[in-house]
Symmetry: C2
Subunit: 313 residues, 2 copies
């Protein structure tokens, strides 16, 4: 029986790596640069070299390693096959097999980065204590991950949990980055929130502290809302409506115990979970009412925690 497991969260700029004991305590963590040259062909060998060096330095034998979990910013099938990953320059190949060959460790699991972050939050973060959660990450875009029975729901083509592209406004005429219109991401991402604020400030003639803000941001909108600004509160209610409606669609499909909201926008705190829950409860059928809306806790470490959890199952 091994003593450690590794979590490796591959991002477009850096790779975050964590060394965990079997209880999920983070013993050590570090980062390496994501070398994207030549179709990203160095990325996995850089990771393997960094792992082997760390084990060597710490006097850890390979038989002490239970496994390696890896998060990738793209769609991944259950067997570890990446289906093209534009962020890393990768085509289609089996990441798990490659890492097995490079490290000599058999137990290698690979998942989509948003999904492993959701698993991490379930295990050690905002969703701790639950087995069925949906994570909604509000950052530059809107991502998501569905955890059922304590495991990642991958989907047939690795695209489960793409909840940023649920249509929440059937009348919207602007086009989303994905090519369709009215996606949750157009309203609930950091950029979407600011765009909606600019729209409202143009169409409304009411006074607002937001008109004086030098850099309009999701944070500025929440700060003004907390101080009682009327237009900022209109924007927070609208955000709550769109997120609550999307959560009601999600619940009708997978009926989770809880929603965990993360990403930069979630730093707004309980004002966000409270308003989302309000609109969720208004727009969901009786059998699906009374879900928990929780804040994520692990921030950028959610990925390495989720990666470690994948190999401990």
């Amino acid at each position: 029986m091994g003593k450690y497991c590794m979590g490796v969260d591959v991002g477009g700029t850096t790779v975050k790596i964590g060394l965990f004991d079997t209880e999920g305590n983070l013993q050590d963590n570090w980062e390496i640069v994501t070398r994207k040259d030549e179709g990203g062909s160095y990325i996995l060998s850089d990771i393997a070299a960094s792992l082997l060096e760390k084990w060597n330095t710490m006097g850890i034998q390979k038989e002490d390693i239970i496994g390696i979990g890896i998060g990738i910013p793209g769609p991944i099938k259950e067997d570890g096959t990446v289906l093209k990953c534009a962020n890393l320059g990768w085509g289609v190949f089996n990441v798990a097999d490659e890492v097995r060959n490079l490290t000599g460790i058999d137990n290698v699991k690979v998942g989509n980065d948003a999904n492993v972050a959701a698993l991490g939050e379930m295990w050690k973060g905002g969703g701790k204590g639950y087995q069925d959660i949906v994570m909604i990450t509000l950052g530059t875009g809107v991502g998501g991950g569905v955890i059922i029975g304590g495991k990642i729901l991958t989907g047939s083509k690795g695209a489960a949990g793409e909840i940023g592209h649920i249509t929440v406004n059937y009348q919207e005429e602007d086009t989303c980055g994905c090519g369709k219109r009215g996606c949750l991401e157009q309203f609930a991402s950091a950029t979407g929130i600011v765009k909606e604020a600019k729209r409202l400030l143009i169409t409304s003639e009411k006074p607002s502290m937001l008109r004086e803000v030098q850099y309009l941001s999701a944070k500025a909108i929440f700060d003004c809302a907390k101080e009682g600004d009327e237009l900022a509160n209109v924007l927070v209610e609208q955000l709550g409506y769109y997120l609550g409606m999307a959560a009601s669609h999600i619940a009708a499909v997978v009926d989770p115990d809880a929603f965990v909201i993360g990403g930069g926008v979630s730093r707004a705190g309980e004002i966000l979970t409270t308003v989302v829950k309000k609109y969720y409860e208004q727009n969901t059928m009786f059998a699906l009412k009374n879900k928990e809306f929780l804040l994520a806790k692990l921030e950028n470490d959610a990925g390495i925690f989720g990666c470690a959890k994948m190999v401990l199952e």
Copy 2:
């Protein structure tokens, strides 16, 4: 190793029972009345008596029975606990334990009726060959079932797959049976389709064969659409839009291989799957495009097949 498994689909009026071999071939099937007197307290003992009598008649020993799968018209947790079932008069209790006691068979699995029907269609019906499907049943109401990795997705409170109550029209003012507004069921159930037709026939002044139909029904609308009637085609397109939009929400959460459409309305045939697929593809992001839209095949037997499949896993 046993030779047979039993599928028991409990409905509000009759209980359908099937005797299957381990390959899933239906060897015998029959029905008994659902006795709902005294809080439905006779239902499970009636079922047990009917099973024991059949085994006796056919000379089947208990050790020949691999297990009993049971479908119930209400929310069921993974452990077999029913969470109130108004259709049968039941409160909260463990159906699996009760059936184990009554029959002496240990392997008893219990599922929601819509979910087991979805499992049956995956195994031997319209979804054969796939492991990840979502079934949409268009009957008096709109039901659904989510099958992931060949297994029923139950949800934390047994309410996964309640897709009839996904909001597809954010402006609708009429209230659904579930208490909220704009649910898929209000537009895509047999009754919802007729209601929408009546709305259109009042608001439009165009001529239509539908104005001459004695009993307006989903079937009449599809029949007239196939004959080129303009208003009937407007209604079919609208139905396709609502179902396609709901399917796009569902896909963004669980990314299935295929959608299987069943229930009485699906007798319309490929005109239905074609129009739903059209609107699905228009309203889904690139990573989720190109799903199959298939017709269910097992009709009222889907439940007993799914029940049998539950115990063969």
